[in-house]
């Protein structure tokens, strides 16, 4: 297992360098000079422009700028936001827990519902449940996030007033965000009702963000299960008189999980993309909105640092998925 982990970790190095280069190049390829954008309609004198260009190091050759950036990254310095003048690292870690909390909840929602739904649909292939579920999954997958979120807000927050409109917790609760995870911080605060408030605020964003992964996981589970249920060893198990529950949940599901886990791993990328819209609509203070704002403002350090950190997160998730493969199917570990 250790050898397997090490070999996977080694692939990190070229990927990391590639991502550093791409994140550096990406924002510079976009047209638009950050200094001109900063000055707006007012504009600035040529002297002032030259002064700021030098201050930000844009007068240096691109290779030197990249080298400065790379050496900074290796020393843990991602630079300072042009806009807020705060270190990128600080900004990222003050916002990332919110995104992570929402993403984890969305994933639990998607897996928790998608996996059993897919299994039940496969077992009941062609029946009403299967057809209803697959139609619903198609609708869920095609749903524009923005529209879906506003619809839920209007119905559940506006009309029924079951859930709050947006934010992470009611404004009457005020405590330090020690961990940045509202569920944990609200418990730590010891304030009555804080945890319930945090949970209520999580419901709609979780549903919105989890809808697409839910649809994908349900469909993938169903098709993987169908494939496995047709295998000889399932027939053997049936012939041995094992209960259908045992056959489906132990024999079939375990083997059907490999493609499902792959899809779950890939969904992390989708979640981050979805988080941009979900966070904007629900005023959720996460990294999605932060990145988009930074691209519009040509805030180079934030865009390149943020992209790099997100890429590293995705790489870690992929590594975890690889490890999970090994646990689910030991044959993969030995290859």
């Amino acid at each position: 297992m250790l050898k397997f982990l090490l070999s996977r970790l080694l692939t990190f190095v070229p990927t990391f360098i590639g991502v550093t280069l791409i994140s550096f190049a990406f924002i510079r390829v976009l047209p638009g000079d950050p200094i001109i954008v900063m000055a707006g309609e007012r504009g600035m004198t040529d002297e002032r422009y030259a002064e700021l260009t030098a201050q930000y190091g844009f007068d240096k050759p691109m290779t030197v700028q990249f080298w400065d950036y790379l050496t900074g990254v290796l020393q843990g310095d991602l630079g300072q936001s042009f806009v807020t003048k705060r270190p990128v690292w600080d900004e990222f870690f003050s916002l990332f827990p919110a995104t992570l909390e929402l993403s984890v909840c969305a994933m639990i929602f998607a897996v928790g519902l998608g996996l059993p739904a897919g299994v039940i649909a496969a077992v009941n292939r062609g029946k009403l449940f299967d057809r209803t579920l697959m139609s619903a999954a198609l609708v869920g997958y095609s749903m524009p996030i923005f529209w879906w979120a506003l619809l839920l807000i209007i119905v559940f927050s506006g009309q029924l007033q079951w859930t709050p409109v947006s934010g992470r917790i009611d404004l009457i609760y005020y405590f330090s965000d020690a961990t940045g995870f509202m569920l944990i911080d609200s418990i730590r605060s010891g304030q009555d009702g804080a945890l319930w408030s945090a949970i209520r605020h999580l419901i709609l964003p979780t549903i919105v963000l989890g809808t697409i992964p839910l649809a994908v996981i349900a469909r993938q589970t169903r098709s993987a299960m169908l494939e496995v249920l047709g295998e000889d060893y399932i027939r053997t198990a049936r012939a041995k008189g094992l209960s259908p529950l045992r056959i489906n949940s132990v024999h079939a599901l375990r083997n059907a999980l490999i493609p499902v886990v792959t899809v779950i791993g890939l969904s992390v990328g989708t979640l981050l993309a979805g988080a941009i819209l979900t966070e904007t609509i629900f005023s959720w203070p996460g990294i999605g909105k932060w990145m988009v704002d930074s691209i519009f403002r040509r805030d180079y350090p934030v865009v390149q640092g943020g992209l790099l950190l997100i890429a590293v997160m995705v790489m870690i998730v992929n590594l975890t998925v690889d490890v999970l493969y090994g646990i689910i199917n030991p044959k993969i570990r030995k290859r």
């Binding site: 976009l30 638009g32 000079d33 900063m38 600035m44 900004e91 947006s166 934010g167 404004l171 965000d177």
Partner: protein, 529 residues
């Protein structure tokens, strides 16, 4: 100024529901996060709303709801006869806020004033480079070259020695970048090795004291009970950061916010009919325009420019582009600004006369470009659509228009070029309520190849605005600016299009809110019934 308050019915005036905030907390659904809390470092209105208005004061202030300059931390001020010195007499007994890291040992005095400006203009000041300071407004308002030195006459008297007489400097002192910070706090933070706290944990003299900020989520303030002026009416002020306009409206309806800014234009009529909301409106301190390149034929001919102006159906633009939330602009300054010349008659919309004028000037088969901005701005919510309407209008008079656009940074940069091809859609939002901030910045000779997109340097106009700039007599300045607007209209370097209307939406229980023409959202005197 036309301040119109529409109040359509009062239903159950619900105090904020449990799960929102206590009755003494005013909740403002703001549109975004501030960049920081030191107003001198930044330029956006969102940042000023969260920093300079609640937390700080300036030597002089704009009277809320007007562009009139009134005493602030300075009880009075005087300008020398030659206009070269400006002396402020400071208010006594003004206390700075305190926080976990700092408790002031003295009241506000001249040292704080000198520090607040020196850090922006003096590269030797240890705070000059803190937080990557670029001091955009200090530079943009040309304060560096205008202020020769600042003298502490005594603890409560400060004199600014200027390099040239310039009347608008008093209004500049009321701008956000001129907010007064505590030198004692700055020194303490520098000694503690955390100078960035000046920006992140602000200490000011304002009506509210900063309590906490969570990026993209919430900002909390507490009332400053030691405030030197009229104390705030609510115990606490909360900014619930809500970037999406539709969601802000939902939050107002659900009672999660009391006040919101920047509604979707499409929602305004529904809000006006909603008994649970009050909609206030006022013309913004801005102008959207089409700037011809007056250095290039045939746009170097004022008659051609006027003819084209007559071909534009501005009312259609107001209806389609602004969806009614705009007002036709006839002058380069907005009607909320002093010295606005209301006697001027706008060019009529008359395509037939425009065509005849163009033919009389020998202009036939003209092809031109109209530049459309790629971004939404307060003075122009949809430049592409506006350009398309103009394209159709100009086609009526035989002028063929090609619409071009560039990425915003490129657009700003290329539109400055002297040999730029075509007429540019752009606009301006005022900084300090002084006409000089529009007329000199946008139309003065110094602005050519910079903020003067028409590249227009017309000596009779220039003489008027320069004379107004150095005069300290308000009546004389008004007369000169009024005359300058007449010259502008005759010469028509721009087609003035529109002033947008600013809307504020609030719950019925909100009392005392005044729409500020300079665009800021100020809650000092807002209460809850």
């Amino acid at each position: 100024m036309s301040l119109k308050m529409k109040f359509l019915g009062l239903t159950a005036a619900i105090a904020l529901t449990a799960g929102s905030a206590s009755a003494q907390a005013l909740v403002y659904c703001s549109e975004g996060s501030p960049e920081g809390f030191d107003p001198a470092l930044y330029t956006s209105g969102t940042t000023f709303d969260a920093s300079s208005h609640p937390i700080y004061n300036r030597l002089v202030e704009f009277k809320v709801g007007t562009t009139e300059v009134i005493p602030g931390l300075a009880e009075s001020w005087s300008v020398s006869e030659d206009g070269m010195t400006l002396t402020f007499n400071l208010r006594r007994g003004v206390q700075f806020h305190s926080n976990d890291m700092f408790t002031p040992t003295r009241d506000f005095n001249a040292d704080d004033v000198i520090f607040s400006f020196d850090r922006q203009g003096n590269a030797e000041n240890p705070y000059n480079s803190v937080s990557g300071g670029t001091w955009e407004y200090f530079g943009g308002m040309d304060m560096g070259s205008l202020i020769e030195s600042i003298e502490k006459v005594d603890d409560y008297t400060v004199t600014f020695h200027l390099t040239r007489p310039e009347a608008p400097i008093v209004a500049n002192m009321a701008m956000d970048f001129a907010s007064i910070v505590s030198k004692e706090y700055a020194d303490a933070m520098m000694a503690a090795g955390t100078p960035e706290m000046l920006n992140q944990a602000p200490i000011g003299t304002g009506p509210f004291q900063f309590q906490a900020y969570q990026k993209d989520a919430v900002i909390r303030y507490l009332r400053n009970d030691n405030y030197w002026g009229d104390p705030a009416r609510v115990e606490s002020l909360i900014f619930a950061i809500t970037p999406d306009a539709s969601v802000r409206y939902q939050k107002i309806q659900a009672g999660e916010c009391h006040v919101m800014a920047y509604p979707n234009p499409a929602d305004i009529s529904a809000m006006q009919e909603d008994a649970g909301t009050v909609v206030m409106e006022q013309e913004g301190l801005n102008v959207g325009y089409l700037a011809y390149n007056t250095t290039q034929a045939p746009f170097d001919n004022a008659n051609v420019r006027r003819a084209l102006n007559m071909a534009i159906d501005k009312q259609a633009i107001i209806d389609v582009v602004f969806q009614g939330s705009g007002q036709i602009a006839k002058n380069p300054i907005p009607p909320t600004m002093w010295s606005y010349n209301d006697a001027i008659v706008d060019d009529p919309y008359d395509p037939a006369a425009a065509r005849a004028m163009l033919e009389a000037e020998g202009v036939t088969d003209l092809s031109m470009k109209i530049w459309a901005m790629p971004v939404q701005r307060p003075y122009n919510p949809n430049a592409r659509r506006m350009a398309e309407l103009m394209q159709a209008d100009f086609a009526e008079v035989g002028v063929d228009v090609e619409i071009v656009s560039y990425e915003w940074g490129e657009y700003l940069s290329r539109s400055r070029e002297l040999n730029r091809d075509g007429a540019v859609l752009l606009g301006w939002t005022g900084d300090n309520g002084d006409p000089d901030n529009f007329l000199a910045v946008l139309l003065g000779c110094e602005g050519v190849e910079a903020s003067n997109r028409a590249q227009w340097c017309h000596q009779p106009f220039e003489d008027l605005i320069q004379a107004a700039k150095v005069s300290n007599d308000p009546a004389e300045r008004t007369r000169l600016y009024e005359e300058a607007q007449v010259v502008f209209k005759e010469q028509a370097p721009w087609a003035t299009i529109a002033h947008s209307v600013v809307y504020m939406v609030m719950r019925p229980e909100v009392d005392g809110y005044v729409v500020h023409p300079l665009g800021g959202h100020i809650f000092n005197q807002v209460g809850l019934n």
